[in-house]
Symmetry: C2
Subunit: 145 residues, 2 copies
DNA sequence: TTATAACATTATAATAATTCTAAGCAAAGA
DNA sequence: TCTTTGCTTAGAATTATTATAATGTTATAA
């Protein structure tokens, strides 16, 4: 979904988008690197002379509740955020730590409303491994997780 | 894999299993509730008069590195652990907070070594939603995440 | 059997991520 | 304008996890 469409979808609901929340959504739109709340905070601090960490967290919850962004819990202990809400898998390279988008065809859950009586609201398909870059860089100095 | 088989697999490798590590593995074997490190600690404290939190964390890393247990990062901010390492999906009910096992047939990644050049080491297929119990209990007092 | 090395465990401190709290601000409605 | 409601802020508090340093345990070899 385009940035404008997301902003509009809130307007249609009559939900006002504050400057700070707009800035967080825009940051995610411009940076498809699956940043953490902390990374967003550090970057916005420079543009916004005054913005607090709590506001970032609040904005992320707000945007997530309106299904404009999604949360990625692939990494232990911290959350990453993704502008892209269309279904796709995430891959965490345990060597370089980067999170990549991976498109996997034929997922039997895609589009389903329930499974075994469980109501599906969100899919979080994660894969852990080594990315192609790290695989080619060297096959030896592997850091066990 | 049976409990005895897991204990044996370490012996075969020549890796000794200390009392504390044995206790953590046994706890996970007896409690298929996907506990957190803290829950394991609280329970083992009562049986073991002396055991420290750090030992629990160390034991969990140890067992995970030997592929005897797996880590679940479905919930933001904290890790859960699972005795069962055979591939299956996990479902987090956002109303009651419980994590359930769900078997999904036909996953295109199951058994695969790579995807798009990415080396697959571990699959973490998570689903968020409402469990059947919470669905039947009431359809109204839903707590937004 | 002792000495030694290697590793495990402990308590505690430190760090990191997130949430809570209380006060101030700002927009919207009466 | 006054009031209400919700947002933002700074900072404190909480929670989960990891690091550190001292101590304990075990296995092996002199």
């Amino acid at each position: 979904m385009s940035f404008e469409a997301k902003v509009h979808s809130l307007k249609r609901k009559g939900v006002p988008l504050t400057t700070q929340r707009y800035a967080v959504l825009e940051y995610l739109y411009l940076n498809h690197t699956h940043p953490t709340a902390e990374e967003i905070y550090q970057s916005l601090k420079e543009n916004f002379s005054i913005i607090s960490q709590a506001t970032i967290y609040n904005a992320l919850v707000f945007l997530k509740n309106h299904s404009l962004i999604r949360e990625i819990t692939i990494e232990k202990g911290k959350a990453h955020f993704d502008y892209e809400i269309e279904p796709h898998h995430h891959f965490l390279c345990r060597r370089c730590g980067h999170i990549y988008d991976v498109h996997v065809e034929g997922c039997p859950l895609e589009g389903k409303k329930t499974v075994d009586g469980y109501k599906i609201e969100e899919l979080r398909p994660y894969i852990i491994g080594i990315c192609p870059k790290c695989l080619s860089r060297s096959g030896k100095n592997e850091i066990p997780q």
